[in-house]
């Protein structure tokens, strides 16, 4: 579709290796504009490797394949990664010329209006992660890459963050690739869930009404069976 040029995310035959170890093996993936995709996978399965390839952060990694991403891509890391020497607002608008007003709006959007002048070290973990969300959304990304953004948060804060992320994504409509190891988080947030295994997409489930057994399904694909599920 012509309208999708520059908005589609497409990966074809993506291969990445560290030394002799093949991490991604001719992986194919497509994410439609506005689609929310969750990526599951065991630890060390290469989720972060894939995400870094999409973010263009892996110049130094061997491999080939085609990666096509929209012009505006934002990344949210597992750690909030705020510059400790910049106040909260300056972190949000980092590198944006005259983005102050939008930065304030963005902070208000994540519920941190009024904390613009705080230092990052004065915020709680969840608040820092919200600042990181504001920082990525103020750039109006067409693709939002998130690598276990809530991994370091407690269960309650996590649930609150899910609600927040869902609302923000509904408003800004970026395509999202969310890396997580939490099946419930994937189900709660995504339109589509992928499981990465042996360097490829090993399973894929589209979520919608009536998709009740997906949780067991996905856990099975992750190699978790019986009581552990």
């Amino acid at each position: 579709m012509a309208t999708d040029v520059g908005r589609l995310t497409r990966v074809q035959g993506l291969t990445r290796r560290y030394g002799e170890r093949l991490i991604l093996d001719h992986l194919d993936l497509e994410i439609a504009p506005g689609e929310f995709v969750a990526l599951l996978g065991r630890s060390g399965s290469g989720k972060s490797t894939l995400l870094r390839a999409l973010a263009g952060l892996d110049d130094d990694v061997a491999g080939d394949g085609l990666v096509e991403v929209p012009a505006q891509v934002s990344v949210v890391f597992q750690d909030a990664r705020l510059l400790p020497w910049q106040r909260v607002l300056d972190n949000v608008v980092l590198g944006l010329d005259g983005g102050e007003r939008r930065g304030r709006e963005s902070l208000a959007e994540v519920g941190l209006g009024g904390r613009e002048r705080a230092w990052p070290s004065e915020l709680s973990g969840g608040e820092q992660q919200r600042v990181a969300l504001a920082r990525s959304l103020v750039r109006e990304p067409r693709l939002l890459l998130a690598d276990e953004p809530f991994g370091a948060l407690d269960a309650l804060t996590r649930i609150k963050m899910h609600g927040l992320l869902r609302r923000l994504v509904e408003r800004h409509r970026p395509a999202v690739l969310l890396v997580t190891h939490d099946v419930d988080e994937a189900i709660a947030l995504a339109d589509r869930v992928l499981v990465l295994d042996s360097g490829r997409i090993a399973a894929e489930r589209r979520l919608g009404p009536g998709s009740t057994d997906i949780r067991t399904d996905l856990l099975l694909a992750l190699g978790v069976t019986g009581e552990g599920a």
Binding site: A55, G56, L57, V73, S74, V75, F77, D79, R81, L83, P84, W85, Q86, D90, L94, G95, W119, P120, S121, R135, R139
Partner: protein, 275 residues
Amino acid sequence: MTLVTARPVAPARVRSRRRRLRPRRPIRFGFLVGPALLLAFWAGGSASGLLDPRFLSPPWTVVTTAGELVASGRLQEHLLASVQRVGLGLAIGVPLGTLLALVSGLSRWGEAVIDGPIQIKRAIPALAMMPLLILWLGIGEVMKVTVITLGVLVPIYIHTHNGLRGIDSRYVELAETVDLRRGTFVRKVILPGAQPGFLLGMRFAVMTAWLYLVVAELINSTTGIGYMMDLARTYGQTDVILVGIVLYGLLGLFSDAAVRLVERRALSWRRTLAG
């Protein structure tokens, strides 16, 4: 579901059992405590006759001598000359050292070219450089300021470079994902990230400046505290020499305190042991 109710406790009995590992709140003018003790020993030693006034004049003699030197205007004159040299040396050496650290820290070629010579300069004692510098630059102000500048440059370079190299690569990665331009990257990530290192370098630099000033002033000078002391040596005036030493000490102490003040202001974003 279990309900946990807070049990009321009498406030007087609430006591934190936690071992406190952090130092307590900073003492006001705490940096003066050590020097004050030193002064007390000196005064005590002189008063009790333990210290021979021919070798070490008592503090009050030093104070009166200083008063006389001030009254005659000689002290101010020498002090001004010294402060000017140090100020000039710092004004040139600090930006130069920072610039070299930036170039060497941000580019591999820069490092290849710059780092070696600085390490070599570091290994050569200031006194060993003097004969050559005097040959090249004469014995005037240019030589003196050059000596100080070269001395100042080294700690600024070493510590800024070290601070810069120590910046967490995750921040650099972040800068890449938000597409920072190089100039903004230097301003928002590199300079603030290297600032703790730079300020530590600054503390060394200020001290170094005073040390190198002595070296420069004791040789072929007609003004400055060092000259005043050298002259006093030829006449055996211990009290004047001591005035010079105390003055050097005070200048060093206060310039260090000034840098630390700036450090506390500039690094207010940090939450550290020092608080």
